[in-house]
């Protein structure tokens, strides 16, 4: 009984029948495609997940622009420059100027807080030379792990989590900066990314503690790396005329090149996956050739009873494509499972496997699988179609 569906596509019907005749062989041939599709799709997804994970941990790096004094400046960024920076940057960006000073800092309740032993201004025992920053409103770029960042920020020190841990400090403890004791008001939240101003080893004081005019750097945070790039370009052209008053660094180039690197890595991984698909293609070629030889007489009969060459071609190609489609579907399903496993272990969220870009890879792998089968089927099909029926029926 030939069903209505197959009645419309008779070559598919014949192909299915032929494939089911040698089930084990067909399954093995399709298995090759399954493996190839899984290899391509899951390696693609793996690369994508890796990239996602790296991008996540890069954090805001790509979104930040750092403005530092240029060669022709007096070593600081003036208030006028700062206003220009603020004028150039659009809405949604934050501009955080900061000052910096190298000074002697000592920690610990016993050591510096009293400042008793040594004279005023003398570093107490355990003191070290450090860069201390002055930031007007650190709340814009940092958040507190312990304590709170005052707003407005007028007094007290903020310390990075690494220092807090090293010296066992917390809010309320005192540290001595350049001889004067200051209370810690907050320990900063450690930042997962690699921004320009990683908080971990920072010691931050209110701006007013710095007598010096001008700023040592201005951090501009933008919503995206594209905006960061544009801002950087605008800042360079606006602030620097003939003289290089400021130096503008942005990592959007770096972020882009990281992206490109991962793109290349992905292509490489997919290339490796393609090799397994190539092997699968060879195995389909082999299976199809065998079946062409085995069914030589049958094909001869088909030709004798009036099948045109292209009819035979259609049947044989349908077989190859059917193998590819079945293998491809199975492969796609398995790859999504593999993608869930990969995402579970790398990013910790299995459902991220269902990101649209992953489906691109699954679709790509599926198309490659079917395409490989089709290509592998071409030669055997051509061979079968061009066999002269006389020769085929001669046995």
């Amino acid at each position: 009984m030939i069903g209505g569906f197959y009645r419309r596509i008779p070559s598919l019907y014949m192909a299915r029948r032929n494939l089911s005749r040698t089930k084990v062989r067909s399954v093995l041939a399709a298995l090759g495609i399954v493996i190839g599709v899984i290899a391509i799709a899951s390696l693609g997804m793996f690369g994508l997940t890796l990239r996602y994970q790296i991008t996540e941990s890069l954090g805001d790096l790509g979104n930040q622009v750092l403005v530092t004094p240029g060669e022709d400046s007096d070593g600081t960024i003036s208030e006028r420059d700062l206003r220009e920076v603020q004028a150039v940057t659009g809405p949604g960006t934050t501009v955080v100027p900061s000052k910096a000073r190298s000074t002697v800092v000592s920690y610990g309740r016993g050591g510096g807080s009293g400042g008793g032993g040594g004279g005023p201004g003398e570093p107490s025992a355990g003191g070290e030379r450090r860069i201390v920053r002055g930031i007007e409103n650190p709340g814009l770029i940092y958040s507190a792990r312990e304590g709170t960042i005052p707003d407005p920020y007028r007094s007290g020190a903020l310390i990075g989590p690494a220092i807090a841990e090293e010296y066992d400090l917390g809010p309320g403890d005192a540290i001595s900066i350049n001889g004067s004791s200051t209370r810690v008001v907050a320990v900063l939240e450690s930042d997962s990314g690699f921004g320009f101003m990683s908080p971990s080893n920072e010691i931050i004081l209110p701006n007013r503690e710095f007598q010096r005019r001008g700023y040592s750097q201005v951090l501009v945070s933008t919503p995206s790396s594209t905006v960061a790039n544009e801002t950087a370009v605008a800042l360079r052209s606006e602030l620097n005329g003939r003289r290089e008053l400021v130096q503008v660094q942005d990592f959007s180039d770096v972020a882009d090149s990281i992206g490109q690197t991962f793109q290349a890595l992905n292509l490489f991984l997919i290339g490796i996956g393609s090799i397994s698909l190539l092997v699968a293609g060879v195995s389909i070629l082999n299976v199809m050739l065998m079946s062409t030889v085995e069914r030589r007489e049958e094909i001869g009969v088909l030709r004798a009873v009036g099948f045109q060459k292209r009819d035979v071609l259609k049947i044989m190609l349908s077989e190859a494509v059917l193998l590819g489609i079945v293998g491809g579907i199975a492969g796609a399903v398995f790859s999504l499972v593999a993608g869930m496993v990969i995402n579970h272990f790398i990013v910790g969220d299995a459902l991220l496997a269902f990101r649209p870009s992953n489906f691109v890879y699954v679709g790509l792998a599926f198309a490659f699988g079917v395409g490989t089968s089709l290509l592998s089927g071409l030669y055997p099909a051509w061979k079968a179609a061009n066999e002269r029926p006389v020769e085929a029926l001669r046995s």
């Binding site: 001869g300 009969v301 009873v305 009036g306 099948f307 045109q308 009819d311 006389v390």
Partner: protein, 297 residues
């Protein structure tokens, strides 16, 4: 008018630099509804002739006409189309497709036609062949005779004018062979010509005409003609004649290795003329064939 006809058909095979002539000028015609058998020792060119009649092969010289129309030199596509329209094939080994049921096997030639009546016609044909209860059986569930009847039904599905049968009884026991031959007779009653290539003398009890092929010649054209097989043999004259038999055997002994392998094998292991024993092998010169003949008679 003859439904199928050959005019001075010559078929040469070239293998390994040697030219072998399997058919040496055959004039042959079959009328609609005629049942003709082509007899001859193996290697006499029977199968080659059948292939030419079935448009499976092109003659080296001469013409093959279907319904008076020259079909030699047509493209493969046109020949296939003409073959499908006019000719049905029945093979010694049935050549049914093992994965398909009897009915599907019968429908195969019309598979790509999108013809809604095919299903009905195939059932009709199978019922006519007495296989109404075997429609959905696979070939391995059918006996030899049943398989051959499925094959005949298949050959008739496109309503051909000519049915070509290659040793149709070759794989069947005598009783089943008779049943199959009865089917052929019935087919001819519907104005379909049946041409059967065979070794089986049983076939000759059913045919209208027996044509003998010897060493690429047909009937009286054969240089072996001694009167015993003179003239186109009629149904009666087809009865095995001792002299004829001897002739056939003698020639067969001489030519089997030459032409037989040529048309039946792939030619590689074929012995070249002159490789054989002391009997002179027939080449294009015909005398050697005649010699044993003359001595016999």
């Amino acid at each position: 008018m003859a439904v199928i006809e050959t005019r001075d058909v010559v078929k040469r095979y070239e293998t390994g630099g040697e030219t072998l002539t399997a058919l040496k000028g055959i004039d042959f015609a079959v009328e609609p509804g005629e049942f003709v058998s082509i007899m001859g020792p193996s290697g006499s060119g029977k199968t080659t002739l059948l292939n030419l009649l079935g448009l499976l092969d092109d003659p080296s010289e001469g013409e093959v006409l279907l319904d008076g129309e020259d079909v030699t030199g047509l493209s493969d596509k046109e020949q296939t189309r003409a073959r499908k329209r006019t000719i049905g094939f029945v093979f010694q080994n049935f050549y049914l497709i093992p994965t398909l049921t009897a009915r599907e096997n019968v429908e195969i030639p019309a598979l790509f036609d999108r013809d809604p009546t095919v299903e009905e016609r195939s059932v009709d044909l199978l019922e006519r062949m007495g296989l109404g209860d075997r429609l959905d059986h696979r070939p391995d569930e059918l006996s030899g005779g049943q398989k051959q009847r499925v094959a005949i039904a298949r050959s008739l599905i496109n309503e051909p004018r000519v049915l070509l049968a290659d040793e149709p009884t070759g794989n069947l026991d005598r009783e089943t062979g008779r049943q199959i031959l009865d089917e052929f007779v019935e087919v001819t009653e519907r104005d379909v010509a049946v041409i059967a290539v065979t070794h089986d003398e049983l076939v000759n009890e059913y045919v209208d005409r027996v044509v003998r092929l010897v060493d690429g010649y047909m009937g009286e054209d054969a240089p072996t003609a001694t009167g015993a097989a003179g003239g186109p043999p009629g149904g009666e004259g087809a009865a095995p004649d001792p002299a004829d038999q001897v002739t056939a055997d003698a020639v067969e002994a001489a030519v089997t290795d030459v032409v037989g392998e040529e048309s039946d094998g792939d030619g590689d292991e074929r012995e070249m003329p002159g490789d054989g024993d002391e009997t002179e092998v027939p080449g294009d010169g015909d005398e050697p064939d005649a010699e044993p003949e003359g001595e016999e008679s």
